[in-house]
């Protein structure tokens, strides 16, 4: 009887630890990933906030899996949107997977059309599990920055 009671106690503690680990898996806002940094670069890899029409904006994204524990690598999709006002002038995307605590770095390029207006543009980076039409969900807070397009 004593052995059975001890087994129940150990099982209960195990369940409590499992529940705690499940809660700790995600960040305070519930996201599994965090965008660590976003740097805009020229085609030569030089950081810049000004780009000419007909050139490519390289969006260098560093991403981290902020979960405390994962059984297997967590898949993600990074989507980058380029807008002028509320019009989308380009996008880029890449997919990958990360274990808990790991970081990844990728740099999709977005072409600025020769007919695009000049002025202030916005780059917004999203981290999703997949495209929304395939049931994708948000995995991180978006990250936004601005740059200028010149003639």
């Amino acid at each position: 009887m004593r052995i059975r009671g001890r087994a129940i106690l150990i099982s209960s503690i195990g369940l409590l630890l499992l529940a705690a680990a499940t809660i700790m898996r995600t960040s305070a806002n519930g996201y599994k990933f965090q965008i660590v940094s976003v740097v805009l670069q020229t085609e030569d890899g030089l950081p810049s906030t000004s780009f000419a029409r007909g050139h490519i904006v390289v969006v260098n994204v560093t991403l981290r899996n902020i979960m405390a524990y994962t059984y297997e690598a967590e898949p993600y999709m990074v989507v980058v949107r380029m807008t002028y006002g509320t019009t989308m002038y380009g996008f880029g995307a890449f997919k990958g997977s990360l274990l808990a605590g790991e970081e990844a770095n990728a740099a999709p390029g977005i072409y600025i059309p020769t007919g695009a207006p000049t002025g202030s543009y916005k780059i917004k980076v999203f981290v999703w599990s997949n495209w929304p039409r395939f049931g994708g969900e948000a995995l991180a807070d978006p990250y936004e920055l601005t740059f200028t397009v010149t003639p």
Partner: protein, 134 residues
């Protein structure tokens, strides 16, 4: 049902079976009517059915997590495309009423055709369609 001494004999006739079958059908019909109200769901719509290139499209949605309870402070991911052409992507957050909006302007070179907007949360997905015509 008949009692014969200690024995209880239950007689099931075709009438009983028919009544049971009707009851099952009625229960299923009631469940199918109630399920959309009880389960999670999303209503997604556009402010118009038809647009011209260069015009603004406003997407609006409401999300419930079940029993008509609004899904508050939840991220919503959005994608709008016509065939293979992607015209808008966004991520917004629902307010306290489970409500969200996302608006964008169509490029002047947007092709004519039928476009689909997809919005997804952890509990439900919504789809809305509109037409672009010059």
């Amino acid at each position: 049902m008949q009692a014969k001494g200690d024995e209880v004999v239950i007689t099931i006739t075709w009438v009983h079976i028919a009544i049971a079958a009707v009851a099952v059908v009625v229960a299923l019909a009631l469940w199918s009517l109630a399920a959309p109200l009880l389960g999670p769901g999303m209503r997604l719509s556009t402010n118009r059915q038809e647009y011209r290139p260069g015009e603004e499209v406003v997407l609006e949605g409401w999300v419930t997590e079940g029993f008509l309870k609004p899904l508050a402070s939840a991220p919503v991911v959005i994608e709008v495309r016509g065939g293979e052409e992607l015209v808008w992507i966004d991520q917004v957050t629902t307010d306290g009423n489970g409500h969200f909006t996302s608006s964008f302007r169509l490029r002047e070179d947007t092709r004519d055709g039928i476009y689909e907007a997809f919005a997804n949360t952890e509990v439900a997905m919504g789809v809305a369609r509109f037409t672009v015509r010059r």
